[in-house]
């Protein structure tokens, strides 16, 4: 099955790999990365025509010097991107890196999603995936090297044609020029360049000469998202494809006892109803037929051990648990003794609920299963894992499974599932139909929200002590919650520690100068499936830490900004964003009566963020008017995309702070759709300003770091406005004290 057989004529080169690239990638082992002793990258190349079955036309019409770029005789430069585009802009920022070193004509640059292949593995994580706010920093060398290598070959081809020294040539906007300004476009050099030997080493540009990197270049994928052309997972349609929905358990861990499909199977369009490991699949010609028939299906469930589970009781258990010492994560000085001897002591408990990723596009997966092979189309963040898991269920070797990454209608971590739940299930449904079969499994919004893999609920209990002169002398925090990694194939990321680093990130690296620090962790075992959600542990630890620092400032009777400053004097990058946010917000200027300003600062995924929020409360309703964000993400690539991510992160964080909570009663999730799990809307959205710190430091992440500061900045602003402290997300002033 190739993409050209997809019946929708709106499959375009920007969303699904073309047949040609897929063939090329399969046949050509064209790129090998190995770390040289120097630590630099050495690139091995494949060349068309050497050990290749590629057609003559392919070699003549395009030049693919490495896995990341293809240049056509039509001058088009196609950058093959090994990260998934889920809104964070990788289909623009990564091509910018390559085009910069290639000196490409930006108006001729396009993108393609990479097929699954070890060549496209994440350089730091060793598998093909998108997550951890890592695409740009991990792609910096990779994409620049690939562009520089391609450029060197084009220059060599032109120099040979002109019989001049390559060093006398220069490149600009998709063409090579010699010293007498003779010009050959890259397209004209495709055939010659394809015959050349690759350079072993390439010289990268001096950043001072950058034309693209560092500029707010507009995104390459915008137009196709304005006319319906961009193809998301739900949009994939194969000829003869059926659509399935699955009746899944109402309680996690429940299993099918029996089902009655006597009515459902007679309904229009229904092709088959079959039990699969995750429930009962209703397979029909169209989605609507499948969904209506599922409504007529009667399933009896063995409810299992989670029956009776209640989040109210769970949080009560968490509170009890926090009263006893946890596993030590960080210990400096003697926090308990310093606390006992402190002049003033405070204790506070912060709570964060389970959260749904709630991507705008609910989950889906298309499977084309044949006897000896399988193709999968989905919006994946975890290509290597998803392909391996699909292959296991299909009973095929991984190389017989091809996975095509579509556009992702949001990801936020949900599409990076260690068990590949939504992919594996779709393969099971295809198997239930029987190979050969083509099926799309669609999750309704309710299915998606109730399907698990949530941000775990957390409780942080913190005690602090201040001495007679107002200095903070002691900090002891206890975090209680489920581990994301324990028991999964990613348990190795815990590095044998008795706690999950993702549970305490953002609290274990407390940056404030406090002489006695104890950070403890309680890992609880609850059978609610949990997973990373945008900013992971930071999404709750920053709320606790930055709220408590504010509470300490209030006890010390100091300005919250100055109080932080005094404790961060040895942390220049924290100070940089803190000062910038304070200054741009007009921190010292008075606000109208009834309004309050709050500040928060945090480090996550290699980047430093500070937010100042301005809020008011009318008739008990919280209104966020303005958020001023300062970011230091080191050397940056596209400030326009950075601003978009920081704006989006602030809104994502504010949505959780103000509105979002998943609750369980009697084992059943109480929320189903946007009306019970709201997202911030246009009329609730504050004005957001983003300021970027100019920095030569190593590049950090940008997709997630914008989230953590939103909640504490708003909570602290609420305290400034009302004198009341909210300690539980989502914020309810009626609970505040």
């Amino acid at each position: 099955m190739s993409t050209r057989h997809i019946s929708s004529d709106r499959i375009n080169s920007g969303s699904v790999p073309s047949e040609r690239v897929r063939r090329e990638v399969k046949r050509r082992d064209f790129l090998k990365f190995s770390l040289a002793a120097s630590g630099g990258l050495v690139i091995g190349f494949y060349f068309p025509g050497i050990g290749s079955e590629a057609s003559a036309q392919e070699s003549v019409n395009s030049f693919m010097p490495n896995a990341f770029v293809r240049i056509g005789t039509d001058e088009r430069v196609t950058v093959i991107v090994n990260h998934s585009e889920m809104g964070q802009g990788v289909y623009t920022s990564l091509p910018m890196l390559l085009a910069e070193e290639l000196d490409a004509d930006w108006s001729k640059v396009g993108f393609e999603s990479a097929p699954v292949d070890p060549k496209y593995n994440h350089p730091a994580f060793g598998m093909q995936m998108t997550g951890g706010s890592s695409s740009v920093w991990s792609g910096l060398e990779q994409f620049r090297q690939a562009g520089a290598a391609a450029r060197a070959m084009l220059v060599a081809a032109a120099a040979t044609r002109w019989n001049v020294d390559p060093a006398s040539c220069r490149t600009e906007s998709g063409a090579v020029f010699d010293s007498s300004s003779r010009k050959l476009s890259y397209g004209q050099l495709v055939a010659d360049a394809a015959k050349l030997t690759p350079p072993a080493h390439v010289q990268l540009k001096d950043p001072k000469t950058f034309k693209l990197i560092g500029k707010p270049i507009k995104r390459l994928d915008t137009s196709m998202k304005l006319n319906g052309q961009a193809v998301f997972g739900l949009d994939v349609k194969l000829p003869g494809m059926m659509t399935a929905v699955v009746a899944r358990p109402p309680i996690f861990g429940a299993t099918v006892k029996s089902f009655d499909d006597s009515k459902a199977r007679t309904m229009p369009g229904v092709r088959k109803i079959a039990q699969v490991p995750s429930g009962v699949a209703v397979i029909a010609d169209t989605f609507w037929q499948a969904k209506v028939a599922r409504g007529a299906l009667r399933v009896e469930w063995d409810e299992g051990a989670m029956r009776g589970f209640s989040t109210t009781q769970m949080m009560q258990d968490f509170r009890e648990r926090a009263k006893s010492p946890g596993v030590s994560v960080r210990k400096e000085g003697d926090a308990p003794t310093a606390l006992a001897n402190a002049t003033k002591k405070i204790q506070a408990v912060y709570e964060a609920p389970y959260l749904s990723h709630l991507m705008m596009e609910p989950l889906s997966c298309v499977v084309d299963l044949r006897q000896d092979s399988c193709e999968v189309w989905t919006g994946s963040q975890f290509q290597t894992v998803d392909r391996a898991n699909a292959a296991k269920i299909a009973g095929l070797p991984a190389e017989k499974v091809q996975l095509h990454t579509t556009f992702l209608g949001g990801g936020f971590g949900r599409r990076a599932n260690p068990q590949s739940d939504f992919v594996v299930e779709a393969v099971f449904v295809a198997k239930a139909i029987g190979a050969p079969s083509k099926v799309k499994v669609v999750w309704t919004r309710e299915d998606d929200m109730q399907g698990g893999w949530y941000r775990p609920a957390f409780l942080h209990s913190i005690e602090g002590g201040i001495d007679a002169t107002g200095n903070v002398v002691s900090w002891r925090s206890r975090s209680v919650g489920q581990s994301i990694m324990a028991g999964t194939s990613f348990e190795a990321m815990m590095q044998g520690k008795p706690y999950d680093p993702a549970s305490v990130e953002g609290i274990d690296d407390l940056p404030y100068s406090i002489p006695n620090i104890a950070v403890e962790s309680h890992q609880v075992n609850i059978k609610v499936p949990v997973q990373w959600l945008r900013s992971v542990g930071h999404s709750h630890t920053a709320f606790a830490v930055e709220s408590f620092i504010d509470e300490l400032a209030a006890v010390a009777q100091k300005d919250p900004y100055q109080f932080r400053r005094d404790l961060l004097l040895k942390q220049p990058r924290y100070l940089g964003v803190l000062d910038l946010a304070a200054q741009k917000s007009g921190w010292s200027k008075p606000l109208p009566k009834g309004m309050g300003r709050g500040i928060a600062v945090h480090f996550a995924f290699g980047s430093y963020l500070a937010h100042v929020a301005e809020v008011s409360v009318t008739d008990g309703k919280i209104k966020v008017h303005r958020m001023v964000c300062a970011v230091d993400c080191g050397q940056y690539v596209n400030p326009g995309i950075i601003a978009a991510q920081i704006e989006g992160g602030a809104i994502f964080g504010a949505s959780a702070a103000l509105f979002q909570e998943l609750t369980f009663e009697d084992g059943r999730l109480q929320q189903t759709n946007f009306h019970t799990f709201p997202v911030m809307r246009m009329n609730e959205c504050p004005e957001i300003e983003t300021y970027i710190v100019e920095s030569n430091e190593k590049s950090g992440g940008i997709g997630e770091p914008g989230v953590p500061c939103a909640a504490p900045a708003i909570a602290n602003a609420l305290f400034a406005a009302t004198g009341k402290r909210v300690r539980r997300m989502p914020f309810r002033l009626t609970e505040a004290v």
């Binding site: 019946s7 929708s8 709106r10 585009e85 889920m86 809104g87 964070q88 802009g89 507009k218 995104r219 994928d221 915008t222 137009s223 196709m224 998202k225 304005l226 006319n227 319906g228 961009a230 998301f232 739900l234 949009d235 349609k237 659509t243 169209t286 989605f287 609507w288 709630l358 991507m359 705008m360 596009e361 609910p362 556009f407 992702l408 209608g409 949001g410 936020f412 309704t444 919004r445 309710e446 326009g640 978009a644 991510q645 704006e647 989006g648 992160g649 602030a650 809104i651 994502f652 759709n673 946007f674 009306h675 997202v679 911030m680 809307r681 246009m682 009329n683 959205c685 004005e687 957001i688």
Partner: protein, 156 residues
């Protein structure tokens, strides 16, 4: 049989009249630019125009379109020439892009009815369209920009 037009082309379909228009557009007509987000008129991703009115097609039975003219995102313009599409490009609005079809279709009705919308007008017209990526500030700017473009073109 249900007769109506989609993006100016006549459609004649034998389909259960209670099927939501969204799924007829996506599954029967193969126009996948109109998106499914919630199925209960909560998010606006499925917004289309029926005789010029913004409608959440996930809850509108296809029978509601009978004899009427439906415009989807594919029909907003044939060549990205709508002022809103221009403005969306200028403001680099989309992130994941999934909700943007619905955002544009809602904004198009707003701009037609209120060529110079205030922020309150924008709040009112756009609050039914959720964007999980948080592109609201850019959508607001883009609507104002498009209004400016239309006014300028009209003045010429």
């Amino acid at each position: 049989m249900i007769d109506f037009s989609v993006n100016g082309k006549p459609v004649d379909l034998d389909v259960d009249p209670s099927t939501p228009l969204l799924w007829v557009i996506r599954d029967h007509l193969g126009l996948t630019g109109t998106k499914y987000g919630c199925g209960m008129a909560q998010c606006g991703a499925c917004t289309v125009h029926i005789d010029g009115e913004a409608v959440r097609s996930c809850v509108a039975p296809v029978s509601r379109a009978s004899g009427k003219a439906v415009i989807t995102i594919e029909g907003l313009s044939s060549d990205l020439s709508h002022a809103l599409q221009h403005a969306w490009i200028e403001e680099d609005v989309p992130q994941c892009g999934y909700c943007q079809s619905g955002q544009l279709m809602s904004a198009a009705v707003l701009l037609r009815e209120k060529p110079q919308p205030t922020d309150d007008d924008i709040d009112q017209a756009m609050t039914g369209n959720i964007c999980r990526c948080g592109t609201y500030p850019r959508i607001r700017r883009a609507i104002h920009r498009a209004a400016g473009m239309v006014a300028k073109a009209g003045a010429r």
